[in-house]
Symmetry: D3
Subunit: 195 residues, 6 copies
Amino acid sequence: MHEPDRPPIPALLTILEHACALKRLPRTGWLLNGVVPCESIADHTTGVALLTLALADALNADWQAQGLERPLDVGRALTLAVLHDLAESRVTDLPKRSTTLIGADVKRCAENEAFSMIVGALPAANDYTSLWREYVEDASPEARLVHDADALEMVHQALLYERAGHRTLDEFWRGHRWHYRLCEQLFDVLRNARS
Amino acid sequence: MHEPDRPPIPALLTILEHACALKRLPRTGWLLNGVVPCESIADHTTGVALLTLALADALNADWQAQGLERPLDVGRALTLAVLHDLAESRVTDLPKRSTTLIGADVKRCAENEAFSMIVGALPAANDYTSLWREYVEDASPEARLVHDADALEMVHQALLYERAGHRTLDEFWRGHRWHYRLCEQLFDVLRNARS
Amino acid sequence: MHEPDRPPIPALLTILEHACALKRLPRTGWLLNGVVPCESIADHTTGVALLTLALADALNADWQAQGLERPLDVGRALTLAVLHDLAESRVTDLPKRSTTLIGADVKRCAENEAFSMIVGALPAANDYTSLWREYVEDASPEARLVHDADALEMVHQALLYERAGHRTLDEFWRGHRWHYRLCEQLFDVLRNARS
Amino acid sequence: MHEPDRPPIPALLTILEHACALKRLPRTGWLLNGVVPCESIADHTTGVALLTLALADALNADWQAQGLERPLDVGRALTLAVLHDLAESRVTDLPKRSTTLIGADVKRCAENEAFSMIVGALPAANDYTSLWREYVEDASPEARLVHDADALEMVHQALLYERAGHRTLDEFWRGHRWHYRLCEQLFDVLRNARS
Amino acid sequence: MHEPDRPPIPALLTILEHACALKRLPRTGWLLNGVVPCESIADHTTGVALLTLALADALNADWQAQGLERPLDVGRALTLAVLHDLAESRVTDLPKRSTTLIGADVKRCAENEAFSMIVGALPAANDYTSLWREYVEDASPEARLVHDADALEMVHQALLYERAGHRTLDEFWRGHRWHYRLCEQLFDVLRNARS
Amino acid sequence: MHEPDRPPIPALLTILEHACALKRLPRTGWLLNGVVPCESIADHTTGVALLTLALADALNADWQAQGLERPLDVGRALTLAVLHDLAESRVTDLPKRSTTLIGADVKRCAENEAFSMIVGALPAANDYTSLWREYVEDASPEARLVHDADALEMVHQALLYERAGHRTLDEFWRGHRWHYRLCEQLFDVLRNARS
């Protein structure tokens, strides 16, 4: 698809445009619970990326005691974190109430297609698509870590919105299941900090 | 500093708190030029991280033709991108007019110290500090790439603000020097898109 | 469903909650084109309702010359206008780029179901569902009028955003088909006002 | 005033412009109590219109038991709801502290004149002016319903702002008098939901 | 009214509360012309105060050549500047379209009464009321200077909003009459900077 | 520096530009504690100026009982209040966490230089520079009053943000030392109003 002597400028522009969409699109779950204005998807992505980095290295510091078969590939985890909401630049951030109606499968298909459209013209398109599938399917220790980081970053933000006065954010604290003991511990600390 | 049997929860909370500060702090250069509201530092970070990823892989697709001695370490580049503005969560985003008065050296020292305070209690603190120094000193091909991505993301955002009507953003287009030919090409395309 | 001696308080609360969601949810098409902040769905609804009222009465003033078989039912048109985006309080405002991926049919089904959930417990639920179907299917002169008003209100808002500097709103002006000659005339006047 | 062969385009543009002003103007009572940003007048209008519709049909479901002499004219009620704050597009939303100083009579005259200026060139101008007078004077069951809906929508919004943390909104809950028993019941439910 | 041994705490709280209202209330003229969000009344007051200070001292530097009979009382001018929009904390910022309907006299009376309510319990209440009358009636060289500064600050802000893309702000540039030649010169420079 | 026959237009434009920067720049301390959006520096300046005026006159009403050696120069106090944050238009509002890293001395030098750049071309530049030094060094009763007013305005704003729900603003209430008994009394009243 990409010929080495023709630099992939249009594909890079596409990435920039979609990164910019992530800056403008709100995390609709907050909006619907009265947080106006609220963080952007890009705001959240940075939080997830930073937390993923810190968690991965913290787990690797004693990976055997943490029950891992091998140290986590930090670069891979970080790539997943940076890409994990990219499809929302086309699909937008569908809140639960919308996903229930549209169907989780339809949403997943839409996000798959969106993801392909966004990265498709890049030289490493196939790699990104594989990584995206790995993330969606929780198919690696790194993907599972990013899912934990995604949820932890959200509850931390909920905690801060609660400290700003919001009293309707209970739903963001419920129903979490953690892949890593360390993440569950961090969640417990955040939950205890609520009261 | 970190003992394996005591998970580094406080250090992780510190990361979350500073990630959240990046969401709230505006990129002051836009504000001072009349873009109100403007993107957050975290918004920008996500843009830089996505672009760094795409650029690194694009360069690696024909690294020899691009004049590289070895393929770029994508994970390392991404780590630098995610960390590159973290110190601003303590120092805030000082615009040029402020940096000139405070002094680039003082600012750098403050950012170094801020960075150490933020990551200092994490197991991989030393690694992050090394990476940060590498970034600040442009001491690796990956660091140089992130500097290019940082500037490209900014001019792309300037282009979009200009499309939203702003006519005072010339300064953001001036004085760039590029480490990579591909980045310069991308810049030229963005600049041509202005008119 | 409703028993006269038990007032439909919960059903009315549901309406209030969904009206409030419309206030908070942005019209994402503007956001994606760089209008930040932009109008809410509720902002738009008021515009459509006022324009529908004025258009209906203007058409009725000489309905025969306008090619109508009977005067428009203004109350019916207004009801359609007020209800026309109510389902978005659950589905959110999916921009074109998202609808294309999710599928227009899926979106329509989701909106049908959302609509039923929102009004379902009200005494007049069946009437509203019929009206909603009428609107979606363009099945009456009143429904067609509201579609025209919906589009006209949008291009007028685009015009005002353009006067505020935005230069990327061409797509909002394209592809309109009008059911009423009067609406087409109004569109022509708005389009001429652009330059 | 209007000749059938000259479509009332300028009058329709006037409606669009004033609808747009309602989108931009804040409900100043919220601002003065620290809700920043707050809903627009147009946001509120959509809430009142949706609630009026639901209330009117709910009352009509057993209008005799509700003490009505005839079923409500839903279309008329909806028209009143859509028009009820239109004059504020010229007068702006004067908070109580301002109205007290300016005088309720002066405010009413200003709103009457504003209303006439906004709708005056429309074919149905006289009808709208009559409706407006009917609303202001509480001169019909429909007008009384819209006044109840106006107040209920406001206290519901107050409730949501309180759930977002605001603790200075007591004044919005005080001094209400209800024309309809159903509305009073709804108010009681909202008030009980505060604690 | 004030007894020396009972410090005027409640009167000072009143001032703080009204100063805070000025921070929250928008300058509605901008809003109605599509500048969303726009500056607060307090934002404007600071601009007027700073400009008044600079203008007063600039005029005093050669007051005879400027046609003044005596040097300006800078402290008095600054007091007028700081107080000049204080009444709007109760009356709100009525745009021209509203003032025309309410009547300039009614507005002035309302502002007089508002001003008295705000400052009335302070020890220097009478002084402030005299100063306010002096400002409203243009009854001193200092009052005339603040009127010029008020208008200049507004057109400068218009210029900056125009540089941010807004194209509907012509009305803010029209109809000015200047009391001071220096102010007229500054206006000419600003006007020339538009094109 | 200034010649009487060449009016100081460029110097006045400089003042206007920096006043406008104060409108756009947020008070970062609020942002970092979750108040988004928050007041501008210019918002705060107006609050300080109004409070300074009221405090100065209140103290002067019985200056001997208040322990003053002479009545306060109100005009001087007001000038200090209006100028007290002007340097932040170049340096930006550095929060404590940033000042600690940059160093209070460096910050002061930067602000001194910024102040000189902003006012340097005005006829009264030397006067302003002296006043600024007087303020920074607390070198007069008027300077001390403005420091008290600066702190009081901040805690009052904190109180209002707390009433809007924020629960993380304790730090803004701590560590105050008051130059005037009246200011301490006002602080006590505000602190008591928290609970």
